[in-house]
Symmetry: C2
Subunit: 456 residues, 2 copies
């Protein structure tokens, strides 16, 4: 008895419809990345373990998929290490390679390795799968695509401006109205912590603040108190719990709160610069908003922080995000390589487009026309038309066997093919095709040009 086949948990097969829809999103990203001057690179699926390990913290190290060395890998293992029977220790003896965990570390490795070929500032995009040995759950997979764009080797704020425009361009093309690009700045968070005399508690402060959406003002205050931030300090920053108004109005409030903090004022200036430019240039689809509670990736980001929220009413976490970092490549020995980058959440954007019915029909370019096969002579007649249609860019097929009519029609039906052609001896004599619309049942007789016109 043969095994019943399955795939590893947390992985997915993608059906034709799913691949076509994913490619629709990916192609939209690619074309906009390129339009904005980002260049694609690709890196190997697996890296040397030394490149990846230790870059994502202990938890990250555990979630990295390791590849077993080939051949008689145990022959190279030291006896005493083997006898210890410690999984962690043995791993480094029997595994030298690991599947990439994200695209950032491979990108940093790429920049350092190819620094002499790269002309800086370097704007690259990368759309490739990554792998994580995470516990699979709804919406969390062990293999998934990341779609990243980064500009490195420049600390100009015009890069941030371009990223807001890039989000706008992509979501405009995808028809995703109501999307919000939320921005914050690490320096504002530092400034707030400083302003309330809790600079040493920056992480605790921002982690609590980040939860405002989920646990509300009361919850945040409770957490801050628990972390040893004084009631008086909290009272001083309370206004930020209920900030409203325009980007500029929010900046004005921050200006008051952070009047004494140099770093805070710098953060305000940066955001004001970006907002001014965006206001002057205009946005088509997205709204730019300031969200002082935004703190994602705080350990990493040093300036701007981005997060993209799906249109209101769609229950979905962020569908993109990013920020500015000071030191991308220091881990590989190349100092002072600052940059800013954003990512798009492919799986989530997919779900949002699906929920809102925004996938265009053309995204699913299936076969539009099936020629029914009535036998040898008829099939050659039809194949000539198939060829002419393909040359005109129209996807059509001949059913491969002269099977029963019912079977062939059912095949067209199950594949959602919109038209069939019935062409027998009479049609061949007259040089025409009987074209049947599978939806309406309408039949018309047309010549080859008529076929092209009906399907174009």
């Amino acid at each position: 008895m043969a095994q019943k086949p399955s795939i590893p948990k947390g992985t997915r097969d993608f059906s034709p419809e799913e691949v076509l829809r994913r490619n629709y999103i990916i192609n939209t990203l690619r074309s906009n990345f390129e339009l904005f001057g980002f260049q694609p690179i690709e890196t190997p699926s697996f890296e040397n373990s030394s490149t990846l390990m230790g870059k994502y913290g202990d938890e990250g190290d555990r979630l990295i998929f390791k590849i077993l060395n080939s051949g008689d890998y145990l022959s190279k293992v030291n006896d005493s290490v083997y006898q210890e029977r410690d999984s962690n220790k043995l791993t480094s003896e029997i595994s030298e390679k690991a599947l990439r965990y994200d695209l950032t570390v491979p990108f940093a490795r790429y920049v350092v390795q190819h620094q002499n070929e790269i002309e800086f500032p370097f704007k690259r995009y990368q759309i490739q799968p990554v792998w994580r040995a995470d516990r699979p759950q709804k919406g969390r997979f062990r293999e998934f695509f990341q779609c990243d764009a980064d500009a490195v080797g420049s600390d100009s704020l015009l890069q941030e401006v371009a990223f807001v425009q890039l989000y706008d361009a992509v979501f405009t093309d995808l028809g995703l109205k109501g999307t919000t690009v939320k921005m914050n700045n690490r320096k504002i968070l530092s400034g707030l912590a400083e302003a309330i005399g809790a600079a040493d508690k920056l992480i605790d402060f921002t982690v609590a603040l980040d939860k405002l959406d989920k646990i509300g003002e009361e919850g945040v205050i409770k957490e801050m108190l628990a972390k040893g931030i004084s009631e008086e300090a909290i009272t001083r920053v309370k206004p930020i719990f209920n900030v409203s108004g325009t980007f500029a109005e929010k900046l004005e409030l921050l200006n008051q709160l952070l009047a004494d903090s140099d770093v805070g004022k710098q953060g305000i200036e940066e955001l004001a610069y970006i907002n001014d430019k965006i206001e002057a240039l205009g946005l088509t689809t997205v709204t730019l908003d300031l969200d002082v509670t935004l703190a994602r990736g705080l350990n990493y980001y040093t300036g701007a922080i981005f997060e993209v929220a799906a249109p209101e009413g769609v229950k979905m976490g962020s569908i993109g995000g990013g920020g500015r970092y000071d030191d991308l490549t220091g881990i590989f020995g190349l100092k002072n390589m600052s940059g800013v980058g954003i990512s798009f959440g492919l799986d989530r954007i997919y779900l949002v487009l699906e929920e809102l019915g925004l996938f265009p029909e053309q995204a699913i370019k299936g076969t539009k026309l099936l020629f029914i096969n009535f036998g040898e002579a008829e099939s050659l007649y039809c194949l000539k038309a198939v060829k002419a249609l393909r040359e005109a860019g129209i996807t059509s097929e001949l059913y491969p066997d002269a099977a029963k009519m019912k079977k062939q029609m059912s095949h067209a039906d199950k594949r959602n093919i919109q038209f069939v052609v019935l062409a027998g001896t009479q049609e061949m004599e007259e040089g025409v095709y009987t074209l049947k619309n599978m939806k309406t049942g309408d039949q018309t007789r047309v010549d080859l040009e008529g076929l092209k016109a009906a399907l174009a």
Copy 2:
């Protein structure tokens, strides 16, 4: 001191230019696959080891990359197995998943797993990387893309006809003139072995025959003799060593040689059918040829065999191939799933296009225009133009800092950007842009419409 970064042997980083060129080929494949009614699927990068192991022979099993189980994987290993310290035995205890080795076995697994959702005949294409722990050498990598198209659930020879047309369509789009699609049929090889009374030596016979190109007639005869095929038998098939003429003429010769072999005659009939249809339909770029020495994948193929030769003069092995098989999915318990499939060799096609200078310039869509940054006011003026150009589909960028002119010009130069715009106070006042052609040095003053026109 930080580590000097590198990548595992046999893997590659792809630079922007390489990715764009690879995508040019992949997009050409995709659009033709879809035009011919093939639908894309994608499968996970790793499969359960039980899905892959034992499907490619002992050598294949060795070349499959195994993924180490996560967590404390040794805790589940049986004591006595551990003490044996046998790499092979331990592997199955500490590794449950493996990177896919080709796209065929995952496709077979997909068909069986999703058989109730699939409408047969099912035509799928798949373009994904595969991994092999092969010894890396020139042109052989441990990670490379396969590009496969298969039609399963039909034994109609019209599928073979379509595949010849598909090769023609792809190589037409790629401008690869002089490409030859060579065909043979497993039944003809069986017939030949039968005709010379060496049916039991079919493999030896065809393996020797397959080397005709490399070792010549004398070498082939020597090898056949060494394998115990009689001199008299060899004399009887000698005519096939020097077959020439048209496809039909070659078939005629085979007709004489195989007059007494039923299976041989069936092979001839099949090839004649395909050739007749192709002659009636016509080919644009490729030549269809009959090559009786072609025996690739003999253990697997049961009917048609395809192999694509690059244009003469290009030193390159086959750039594609495939054939018909009787039983794709039997290994997973689904019987009688016959099909036919072909593949395209992405890396080799890349090298051929490069050698012949056939990559179109548009394949490398880089930034066409760099706006020189003269400061705050000027940069906003330029950003408005950048935005308008992007909306017109033209890739342009503003240099992110008001750096020294020389540095900015050199940046444009190094990135092969064709045009720069110099726009200072005077241009702003007049609403124009000074456009400089970096190649010729020519400068003109144009308005926004003029910019678009110059770059379109």
